[in-house]
Subunit: 125 residues, 2 copies
């Protein structure tokens, strides 16, 4: 098993998630050791939910899983970069393709693009 | 001033840094409120160094600054994405263009690409 440094932020490391084809940054999640091992062994992006304090297989509720195409590790072994195929075309719970859909424009923030799906349909079915 | 949620990880939020032209993910840094404000006001990526526990203007030592071209904020206002022009062509202290130059290959890790500069020349001059 490839070892990462989980010591710096309470046992969690950030995982940057990028569309493997377009390079668009889709989201950032956190992983503990268990999430990292699950991601490696299943090939599906698995995080640790800080709000729910539990292992979180991305897409388990919505069906919008992230299939791992490539994994990079940074120079300090304390951050990972996942290149994924995003099932359903959207990573964000708002229905937007990317969680980073708000752009800083001078002193304000503008929403870029439109949701790919309707969150009410996906999460309340 | 655009407000971010600094409450979740001891006053720090992750900042994903992407080459504004190629989309390559260069590094991940952390920001506190002061670093965020400095980034907005100066147009140069500024982080909080967790190891040195101080404000860190990226490139202050090496000259390899990051000029801000665009800033995105995520759905929860707790992560930012910086699209930057990387002066000197490399973001990593190892001399590699990206800090994410180690690729997971089955059970091992392979270094991708070669350093753009010699760290000894840049940091020990």
């Amino acid at each position: 098993m490839i070892k990462l440094d989980f010591s710096k932020a309470g046992g969690l490391i950030p995982a940057v998630v990028q569309d493997y084809k377009t390079g668009e940054v889709l989201m950032l999640g956190f992983m503990n050791q268990e999430a990292w091992e699950a991601t490696l062994s299943t090939g599906k992006a698995t995080y640790y939910s800080r709000s729910r304090q539990e292992l979180w297989v991305k897409g388990k509720t919505s069906g919008n899983m992230q299939l791992i195409k490539e994994i990079r590790i940074d120079c300090d072994n304390d951050t990972v970069l996942l290149k994924v195929e995003q099932i359903g075309g959207a990573a964000c719970h708002t229905g937007h393709k990317s969680c980073f859909h708000k752009k800083v424009d001078h002193e304000s923030v503008k929403v870029i693009g439109r949701p790919v799906f309707d969150p009410e349909e996906v999460y309340n079915k």
